[in-house]
């Protein structure tokens, strides 16, 4: 078996401006096996997979498919080489039918270039039967669940006769029952001699499905071994490095009076009867699985989404939140989880992005005070340590971490009392992460309060004073710092902690 490597990459490196995403990575998958690639967000998993799939080009390194050296210049080329990728967030055309999408881009043709629909129908039915999937070929994709769409992607890979199938966190948004179906499918593919690369950071899954495990951290493969030679603790330790729980620039800050009180807050976007409070100088975490309603909750609190009812009190005064302006006026600001969509205006320069939320400071009766603006922006960007050639460069040219710092600078300029940070370190490199943690510490020392939403438990455990855990739109648990443990949090997050009844 050892010689039967379907896919092998050697010494791959890839840098983005300001981030070394991959550093001398080597990695291989055997036929008839599942190789799990795990690592924290930002460890470089997705970048590596995008290189294998031809979306990115490596700066250096070699790729071999079935022992032959290849150059994968595009996803189409990857497909021709028998590599299929199933993305974490599926991109699909909602109005397409199953049979159309299965053969998209390679529809069999009749004479005059007409599409041979009859042959498509036959082959679709044949495939569906072969893979034992009870779908109607005419069903539109928009009517399928995420898990069905995934199955379809797998079907597509099978129909292409792909030997290597890459799955990027396929279970992040499907139910437990659907996960079982997926795993059966993977076992089935393995038995047929396919090579599967499975990206995940969920321990239970990793150990169920893997033959081999590689752990990626900060752009390097830190360990590759057979599954049996690992246990959960060693994998976690290797994933997070030395930083587990310690190593965070956390300092004890005296907590003051309650600054924010939210009661019975419910909204249409998926949170129900949520009550919590935040004290001065406190970092309050919100943990939970994807889809637990944390982002939806804070978005509504910030006035980006609607809420039905519930009261919000800031410094004891009830406030009405109908729009973002209302919350900003009350001293609440939010760093959004999706920096590209809600954070930056990519085509404008750093200066304009930073002053966007506080223009009233620099515009008197609509007129701009240029010098005041420049000096203030330079001061704040210096404090937050944004690395950039000047404040006049387009934000789109900066690295992810620096873009995030630009958004932070924007909110610092408001001098808010309460900061909501939704996934503040997502997709940025470790150095920038630490700087953001340090900034959080500085801020609470200045008497500000922080609400931190994160899917990375280690950073929540490392940074928070108190934590709420959410599941299915409700708060299922509240923990003090002394009670923090991955296990307890996960139990609440999966809502298994309900005592009696």
């Amino acid at each position: 078996m050892t010689q039967n490597l379907l896919l092998e990459v050697k010494h791959i490196s890839k840098a983005f401006p300001g981030v070394k995403a991959l550093d001398d990575v080597s990695f291989s998958v055997k036929a008839g096996s599942v190789h799990v690639l795990c690592g924290e967000n930002g460890a470089g998993k997705s970048t590596l997979m995008k290189i294998i799939n031809g979306i990115y080009q490596p700066d250096s390194g070699e790729t071999f498919v079935r022992g032959e050296k290849v150059h994968i210049g595009s996803p189409i080329k990857a497909g021709e080489l028998g590599i299929s990728m199933i993305f974490q967030e599926l991109n699909y055309t909602p109005e397409m039918s199953i049979e159309e999408s299965l053969f998209v881009g390679r529809w069999p043709k009749k004479r005059f270039g007409l599409i041979d629909w009859r042959s498509i129908r036959e082959r679709t039915l044949q495939l569906l039967e072969q893979e034992n999937l009870p779908y109607d070929p005419e069903t539109k994709l928009k009517d399928l669940s995420i898990s069905n769409l995934q199955m379809l992607e797998i079907l597509k890979a099978v129909s292409r006769d792909s030997d290597v199938i890459i799955m990027d966190e396929p279970t992040s948004s499907i139910t437990n029952k659907e996960i079982e179906i997926l795993f059966q499918k993977i076992d089935n593919l393995r038995a047929r001699g396919k090579a599967i690369v499975y990206i995940s950071h969920k321990m239970d899954e990793i150990f169920r499905i893997a033959d081999e495990i590689s752990i990626l951290r900060d752009g390097r493969v830190v360990e590759t071994r057979a599954k049996d030679e690992f246990d959960i603790d060693s994998v976690i330790a290797l994933m997070v490095g030395r930083t587990l729980g310690h190593g965070y620039p956390k300092e004890d800050v005296a907590r003051g009076e309650t600054v924010l009180e939210v009661e019975h807050f419910s909204g249409p976007s998926g949170f129900d009867d949520v009550s919590f409070h935040v004290k001065k100088g406190e970092i309050v975490g919100f943990a939970g699985l994807v889809g637990a309603g944390r982002t939806e909750l804070v978005r509504a609190l910030f006035g980006l989404d609607e809420h039905f009812h519930g009261t919000v009190k800031v410094h004891g005064n009830p406030i009405k939140i109908r729009s973002v302006q209302d919350s900003i006026k009350s001293g609440i600001v939010m760093l959004s989880e999706d920096r590209r969509r809600f954070g930056i205006v990519p085509v404008r320069d750093v200066k304009e992005n930073v002053t966007l939320a506080s223009m009233e400071q620099f515009f008197k009766n609509g007129h701009l005070y240029t010098a005041k603006e420049r000096s203030k922006v330079e001061e704040i960007c210096g404090r937050i340590n944004v690395k950039m050639p000047s404040i006049d460069v387009q934000v789109s040219t900066l690295s992810g971490g620096n873009q995030q710092k630009v958004v932070l600078s924007k909110w610092m300029l408001q001098d808010p009392d309460i900061l909501i940070l939704d996934e503040p370190t997502r997709g940025i490199d470790v150095g920038a992460k630490v700087e953001i943690y340090k900034l959080m510490t500085t801020l609470v020392k200045e008497g500000k309060s922080i609400i931190m939403v994160s899917s990375e438990l280690p950073e929540l455990i490392g940074m928070c004073d108190r934590m709420y855990v959410m599941a299915a739109g409700r708060i299922t648990g509240e923990l003090e710092r002394a009670e923090f443990s991955q296990e307890t949090i996960m139990r609440y997050a999966m809502n298994m902690a309900r005592r009696a009844s």
């Binding site: 983005f16 990519p346 966007l356 515009f363 050639p389 040219t397």
Partner: protein, 335 residues
């Protein structure tokens, strides 16, 4: 690192000022082709000729920057102009007539703004509808007849201060106004932000509706003014005038570097764009280029200008991000 910075700076300079370079090269070339080109009379002539569409182009610039568009400006120009002329003939008051022209421009564009913001109709469609409606109203009101003998009203179009025609003075005022709004007011900043990333602007506490409707209102005043100048220049209240002017205006804005993806564009660029088109028309006339061929050339230049812009942008992205931006980031799968 330092070489990288200088390259980036050079890129910025190139993309920011290349349009003026084109303009200068063009002036030199035109001057070589025809020695009368740079005479003050010819330049004053060209300026007067382009004044109406350039004023419209400034309005379009504000809108395109905010991710909007106005296809109705040619028709609204006619409606505002005709009403202004009519009121002048009724009252004999220039200021009242002037005010009425602006009012009709603003009113039509207020409706544009309401349709786009409150009813969420795409700007293209909303203003397409307004284009038809405004033309219809101006024809209905005049029963399709031109209004002649407009008397002193012609001063708006044919008067001069020194050797500078009145329309040119208005064009310059509107240009300065646009420049000031874009570069020196919070409203201008918000326009760029709304066009560059509407969701981020909203999440920064910007009142998107106010900005969008505001942009239409300002555009409306410009269109109304353009209507007055147009009627006065041609010495007739013509309900059929201004047809196709929306595209002339868009052409000037686009050649001037205003990006249809929103968030980019300047008043200076649009002015340069308008002059490039004006010079091009003029030199083709002076050198006797076939008028049908002129259209072909103008169209080709638009494609070239925008094509170069996109190509340069693509190259820039590739260089700075190692082509990391080419694939779409997967959109959030909302259920």
């Amino acid at each position: 690192m330092s070489s990288l910075i200088t390259r980036e700076k050079w890129q910025t300079i190139k993309s920011r000022y290349s349009i003026y370079l084109v303009l200068i090269v063009m002036i030199i070339a035109c001057n070589l082709l025809n020695e009368n080109f740079l005479s003050s009379r010819n330049i004053a002539n060209i300026s007067a000729q382009i004044s109406v569409t350039t004023i419209l182009a400034f309005g379009e610039t504000l809108l395109i920057i905010a991710g909007l568009l106005d296809l109705s400006c040619g028709s609204v120009l006619a409606l505002a102009g005709v009403m202004s002329v009519f009121i002048y003939k009724e009252t004999g008051s220039m200021p009242v007539a002037f005010g009425i022209g602006l009012l009709f421009g603003v009113a039509c564009n207020y409706i544009n703004g309401i349709l786009v913001w409150n009813f969420r109709i795409p700007a293209f469609i909303a203003t397409l509808a307004m284009m038809t409606v405004a033309r219809g109203i101006s024809l209905l009101f005049t029963r399709g007849q031109n209004i002649y003998q407009i008397g002193d009203y012609v001063w708006f179009g044919q008067g001069q201060v020194g050797f500078v025609p009145i329309p040119v003075i208005f064009m310059v005022i509107v240009g300065i106004l646009t420049w000031y709004i874009l570069g020196h007011t919070s409203f201008g900043r918000s326009l760029y932000a709304v066009g560059g990333n509407e969701e981020a602007a909203r999440a920064s506490g910007i009142n998107i509706g106010r900005i969008k409707i505001g942009a239409y209102l300002i555009n409306g005043a410009f269109v109304g003014l353009a209507g007055i100048l147009m009627m006065a220049r041609t010495n007739v209240g013509a309900p059929n005038s201004g047809q196709g002017y929306e595209f002339e205006a868009l052409t000037a804005a686009i050649i001037g570097g205003t990006s249809f993806s929103g968030g980019l564009g300047t008043a200076g660029g649009t002015l340069a764009g308008a002059f490039i088109v004006g010079f091009l028309n003029n030199i083709m006339n002076l050198t006797g280029v076939d008028s049908y061929l002129q259209q072909v050339i103008k169209g080709a230049i638009i494609a070239l200008a925008v094509g170069y812009d996109m190509w340069a942008k693509l190259n820039r992205t590739k260089k700075t991000l190692g082509a990391a931006r080419i694939p779409n980031e997967p959109k959030e799968a909302k259920k």
